[in-house]
Symmetry: C2
Amino acid sequence: MSQTSSRRTSAKIQEVARLAGVSIATVSRTFNLPEQVKPATRSVVEGIARQLAYYPNRSASTLRTQRSKVLGVVLPTLLNPVFAECMAGIAVAAKERGYAIIHATTEYQLANEEQAVSELQSRSVDGFILVVSNPRTSRALERVRAQGVPYVLLYSREAGHPCISVDGEKALEELIERLAGLGHRRIAMVSGQLQASDRAQQRYRGFVAGMSRLGLDASSLIEVPFVETAVGRLAELLAQRGRPSALVCSNDLLAIRAIRAAHLAGLVVPRDLSVVGFDGIRIGEDMTPMLSTIVQPNEEMGRRSIALVSDAQSAASARRPVESVSLEYYFREGESCARAPEGYS
Amino acid sequence: MSQTSSRRTSAKIQEVARLAGVSIATVSRTFNLPEQVKPATRSVVEGIARQLAYYPNRSASTLRTQRSKVLGVVLPTLLNPVFAECMAGIAVAAKERGYAIIHATTEYQLANEEQAVSELQSRSVDGFILVVSNPRTSRALERVRAQGVPYVLLYSREAGHPCISVDGEKALEELIERLAGLGHRRIAMVSGQLQASDRAQQRYRGFVAGMSRLGLDASSLIEVPFVETAVGRLAELLAQRGRPSALVCSNDLLAIRAIRAAHLAGLVVPRDLSVVGFDGIRIGEDMTPMLSTIVQPNEEMGRRSIALVSDAQSAASARRPVESVSLEYYFREGESCARAPEGYS
DNA sequence: TTGTAGGCGTTATCAG
DNA sequence: CTGATAACGCCTACAA
């Protein structure tokens, strides 16, 4: 009953060594450098270890080797499925490579970025995976570089940093072209605060470029600072005459809200209004109408990020030129995007 | 340029001690037992520490104190927003209390539960927050108890274990009553694999109880083993005559898919079919129709779980009777649930 | 192939 | 209030 099996001796490795008739060094090697241990010895040690349910103490090992086998992940929030999906990919790949993940969310607050990095540094993570607001000005990123551990930026594309992303600018340009092909002329972009995210800026640039190229008015930018308020604000705008026939949203969460706003404004999507998102969150596929969107391989991005930092980890010294990865995106047809209404231009 | 500031001396605490003119013991105390250090000394040390950007090495501290200030979280997946929301709550509360989180997902695979726990144990977490398939048979849970660290079960309700949950059984019973009040007689329950989750079972029991109490046929259980296939399967069923007028889903993700299935079957929700979910994921509020559902306070549940284990942590010895927490749920009206079609019974 | 032993950075005990 | 000093459990030259 009383689980007071208080072993004060501890040092289970000693126990294993004793029972196996070897030194603790050999036990250690059995785990870390098995090939250096005679097979016979090894299997004895392994047997005993299993019996005693012994496994090396990670803190001790970390202290000694200066390697924690923990990676730090900093991202805005897990409440946006795009990051949850990304995290899922990260988790899988990390596990495969023997890393654990400690994450911190910034809630889109710049101040939190730096704090998150500090916290993770104090946990002596071996590397960082970061989704920052803006790589160019990020003090968090500075801190990471100062420390010299490997890192990779997710979703950003910034020369001089290892990034994993898709070309959002190009994607948006193509999207505009597609919409124009469907007869849309009045197209508005809905975005979160542009300055809060270089991803949003990237996509916005594509919007402007695409519109300009077709000679369309690219001035319709609807910035919704707080996602919570997006619906009301959008509904108002959509109720006005002269409203756009298509809404291009900077991310899927906004697109979903835009669809709701349209509904509140008495519009039917996609009959009266086309709405397209960006991110390709899975849940968009289950919605009705199914969300039309530009799909990024979020989980893969997560996986690749682990590959990158963990490779950099091993490479260590050879600080090569920084290798970024640009992945493919694609347009998911969905059902929230259709031909522009007749006589609408 | 070359960041080869290779300090071979390391031991920054020594440096701090030296510059502050004290021993490393005092430096340590300044961080851990500030009240034992003369204010004057303390501020000197703090100043130097800040200058050198010194912070205690966690691994060393963990090794010495046998406390990592890391908590382990095991949950099915982050791709279901219900767990992502929960995790968000966990993260906030953990941060407040100085804990970091390492999580592992099971992907609803029993085998992974135990492996996840082992992995986390090897990372010497100070406690566990678990969302397991079934507390009664969980070997993972056994392992945790064997180790003797504090833990708490999320979403489960099982005597003998500290649990944080809402009363899903009662909630479903009440829901049935509500639907009956709206004229629904043919009500079916849509669930994932029952045996894969005691939460689902709990809710199902409530469904049966509620139906029986009203003298309704409670035999309509639609089990969709793989969520991925839910839509197709449901659409088929909904296309048949004699279909239910209301669908009660064991979770919101299923409800969203049910709505899609209804659409594919040519039905309009809620005019032709009412659909209700369970969980209260936020995104349900942004959908059109807004998801009617039973809302659990997911983030709060996460927060409370941290409170529980971290308190148990400090209490340590006094193993009190196990205190579970049952939180309030509520029905979110939404728009996916309405009066039953005329002449439908 | 295996053993010996120093030290990773802290904390806690015990003196002073 | 402060200092000296053992561990904490492991890894890795270096020796054997």
